[in-house]
């Protein structure tokens, strides 16, 4: 940008940047975020098990993105830092999706107008509430604009077609199995009008924010549980209430070995035990 031989109008400059960002985003596969009866589901076509498009930010907040991996990964880490810092210096309940969406919007907006290249990303920040009415889904685009969406969002290459279809077919209060099947069917449609693909569990990255869980509500869904949920003949309609028993990281639900329900995978104790007033380790923690 050191030498500009001709005058470029601001309109043209912004349009060029927007086109550039839009083109980058359109190259990638799509991500669908949609509400179901017990929470919010995230479905991405992503064969990688390590490079995630959907991630946990905080207790009730998750992040989904399309576009350039290095750019949205950078934003994801910033979001985790923002949330953890806020939760550490105030309290866990003071971390909200709205605050994070604002911080992202300011960041994306500043980068769009001031840096030599805009971020080629589109992201969703979602927070699960106590009921589906209080769920919040924010969509943020490369230029920093924020939209408060109701019920569902689709982003990426085929985002517009998927959203049009979701407008007709998504209903509030769908079961998890129905919501996932709908999202997977729409992700498999070819936007150019070609033959539909059928996506299997191995090509999908699926996660939920489950409003019924205490504290950290984010769970990935994989393995035989995902296959069962996507199979319309299988009676499994929802994610199990208990985590897997396999020792290790418990953000993945596969439904293969259910875990003893008495253990509590939470960092802090969720309810003061005993009678009378007890200060406990973290006042006002969790719900």
């Amino acid at each position: 940008m050191t030498s500009m031989p001709f005058y470029v109008s601001p309109e043209q400059l912004m349009k060029d940047r927007a086109d550039y960002a839009r083109k980058g985003i359109a190259r990638g596969r799509s991500v669908v975020v949609l509400g179901y009866d017990r929470g919010i589901a995230f479905v991405a076509e992503n064969p990688s098990r390590a490079l995630h498009k959907v991630s946990e930010i905080y207790d009730r907040i998750a992040f989904a993105a399309v576009g350039k991996y290095n750019e949205f990964e950078n934003l994801r880490v910033a979001g985790v830092r923002y949330a953890d810092l806020r939760g550490y210096s105030y309290d866990r309940i003071d971390v909200t999706a709205r605050g994070l969406a604002n911080a992202y919007a300011q960041t994306l907006g500043t980068v769009f107008t001031q840096e030599s290249k805009p971020y080629e990303v589109e992201i969703v920040v979602a927070e699960v509430g106590d009921s589906s009415d209080s769920d919040q889904i924010y969509r943020l685009t490369y230029d920093g604009s924020v939209a408060d969406e109701h019920g569902f969002v689709a982003m990426g290459g085929a985002g517009e077609q998927i959203e049009t279809a979701l407008k007709q077919r998504w209903r509030p209060g769908m079961s998890l199995a129905d919501a996932l099947s709908l999202a997977v069917e729409l992700l498999g449609k070819d936007p150019a009008g070609g033959k539909d693909r059928s996506l299997g569990a191995a090509q999908l990255e699926v996660a939920v924010l489950d409003r019924e869980r205490p504290r950290r509500t984010f769970r990935r869904i994989g393995g035989s549980l995902l296959t069962a949920l996507l199979n319309s003949e299988d009676p499994t309609r929802d994610a199990p209430e208990v985590d897997d028993a396999t020792p290790g990281h418990h953000d993945i639900l596969t439904g293969e070995v259910p875990r003893d329900a008495t253990t509590n995978p939470q960092t802090q104790r969720d309810a003061p035990h005993g009678t009378g007033a007890e200060p406990g380790p973290a006042p006002g923690d969790g719900d």
Binding site: A50, H52, S55, E56, I57, N74, L75, V77, A78, V80, R81, Y82, D84, L85, G87, Y88, S89, N102, A103, Y104, Q106, T107, G109, T110, T113, Q114, A245, P247, G248, H249, H250, R259, D260, T262, T263, N264, P265, Q266, T267, Q268, R269, H273, G274, T275, G276, E278, P279, G280, P281, A282
Partner: protein, 275 residues
Amino acid sequence: MSLGPDAGRLPAAFLAAGSSSFTEFVGAHAPQLLPSRRPLPPGGAFEAPHGTTIAALTFAGGVVMAGDRRATLGNIIANRDMEKVFAADEYSAVGIAGTAGIAIELVKLFQVELEHYEKIEGTLLSLEGKANRLASMIRANLGMAMQGLSVVPLFAGYDLDRSQGRIFSYDVTGGCYEEKDHHSVGSGSLFARGAIRKLWRPGLSTDEGVSVAVEALYDAADDDSATGGPDLGRGIWPTVAVVDQDGVRFLPDDVLQGVVEQVIAGRQGNPGGAR
């Protein structure tokens, strides 16, 4: 601070690549939030509430950690039902002895540190990794320890690679030592340690392990004024965490009441307790 065009934007520290440590991030962005980065007023030691005895021991499937509930301020009981044993993450627990305020702040920071790593890296830190992170936090607190605000934690967790419970102890300089079988810290630790040594044997069951830990705290409370015994009138029981391959769980009050009543019944006419 002026409202420039960058106002509201996430500061550069948030977008910096590289670190998955929350403490390092806070140290770079908001150092005043770290207990070790706050300047201390000049002058000698001053008094603040102290927490006391923590005991930990391994059993066949994992490790038990128990702590009494008393905090003292000199000869005064500052709090009779504080908790000093916390879950650090899903597979580890940390108990604290020393200056209560700073210890609780450190535990909170440690919990966020582990969860932060988990979210950024998408995997759990190894048990040694967790023990070392805690050591570096204690090390950073040395300046305060020299002014009398020391914190000495005890860390115990279930090692997923070795499938066993392990215990780590610390000194005020941040030295981290792995303890074999059992350990205790705090003012009543001498008595608790003696009791555990006589009662512990390899291959204890979970219930036996819990009962040994409660016996040890009872002995500590018997001889150390800063350690609180179980309070039947108020229903205050020691905090007991069990860490095994299912993760950390805290024993509920009704179970603890049963264990305590059994320990007390065993001491009727036999004040030395089980042997």
